[in-house]
Symmetry: C2
Subunit: 228 residues, 2 copies
């Protein structure tokens, strides 16, 4: 099929989303900011926001079978944060398509871009249904731009992982304070990790909690229970 | 197809959801509370929560074409509130299915029921896909138990509706304070509503805001711009 009879906006949307729009008016609406348009993209943004949440939730649910719901929630928060949406929207160069009144601050403009991305997701969903919207989000937003390992590192709770591991393997787990004020620093704690009553790792940290996390991470990495 | 060879839990799930489960293990997991089960329903609850949000968002988006995103958000909040989920879960008598340790408070138990409902939605989604999950939510949760008019009344902002109407029809809108301390009550305000400089409605209220809402509602109802 050639695009030669199609209007430029249809072609632009195809390039952007990989989708041949059935109802191009939905996509047009997605780029109408309230500052310039009485009929604007806010309702589509409402819808797209929750569709994105659902699709990202499933991706995370499938990609991280060993994470508990607290960690899944943290991953989702990172993934659908205002900041991330603005960045993704800027990656797709959405600002050049949005109809808005040019009286915005830079922060305002960034949010305008993130919101338009949500509205576009709403438009794709209404136009194409859920599975096609999943494909759009995975192929155009997640796969090219999201580093799951990096996101995971930001939210991972190694102590909880180790706790679950020991529960599963029926091993006894204990953190012990080896030294407080280590190296003459009042904020430095030296923590030992004992598994089945044998010390298997240790770490320093500004707080007990940080030192415990580091010791747990060290042990999990050494045993290749997590990637380094 | 007869159910005579099927296990009782399969039959129970069919009765509850209208669905013939493909992977019955997912449904079993949905009713495993963490108080009694190491492998529990919390991850399914994480997923189901966001799937429910998306499906309810679309229902609201379609049912209320004239509401702005603020009103849509309020409607969704009412609809997916902890309270509503617990009530819906109790309507479905989910507690009788849940595996939990009986040391809960009544509030705790209620939340256990609402959370299990979210987990069940997650199970239905994974087992059957999005469109079937939409049908389940509409037929088993929304249609029998949700009174949209009642929910709408709780969140409707008549002043905003009237403001939008006047903007669209290019009419001048003004609220005027007719009397303060009306009927010797220091908290009683009498407000007049003028459209195109002519008084078309009035109302009393404990605050100016309440009286304005009532006047706007009265006018919209009289003109049959909203249902009474």
């Amino acid at each position: 099929m050639s695009f030669k009879d199609k209007d430029p906006f249809f072609v632009q949307m195809h390039k952007l989303t990989g989708i041949r729009a059935k109802n191009i008016a939905l996509y047009k609406l997605a780029f109408k900011h309230k500052s310039k348009n009485q009929e604007n993209n806010e309702r589509l943004e409402f819808l797209g926001d929750s569709i994105l949440d659902a699709i990202i939730s499933e991706i995370i649910y499938n990609n991280f079978p060993n994470k508990d719901e607290g960690e899944l929630s943290k991953l989702r928060s990172k993934m659908v944060s205002r900041n991330m949406l603005n960045t993704l929207g800027n990656n797709l160069n959405l600002l050049s398509i949005i109809s808005y009144r040019e009286t915005h601050t830079k922060d305002g403009l960034n949010n305008t871009v993130g919101n338009a991305l949500e509205a576009l997701i709403g438009a794709v969903y209404l136009d194409q249904g859920y599975p096609a919207c999943q494909v759009f989000i995975e192929k155009k937003l997640v796969d090219p731009y999201i580093d799951w390992q990096q996101l995971e590192a930001k939210v991972t709770d190694h102590k909880s992982s180790l706790f679950r591991y020991c529960q599963k393997e029926k091993k006894h787990l204990q953190f012990v304070l080896l030294e407080e004020n280590a190296i003459d620093d009042p904020k430095r704690f030296h923590i030992g990790l004992k598994i089945d009553y044998e010390q298997v790792a240790d770490a320093f940290g500004k707080s007990k909690k940080i030192a415990e996390q580091k010791a747990a991470k060290g042990y999990l990495e050494e045993r290749e229970l997590i990637s380094q």
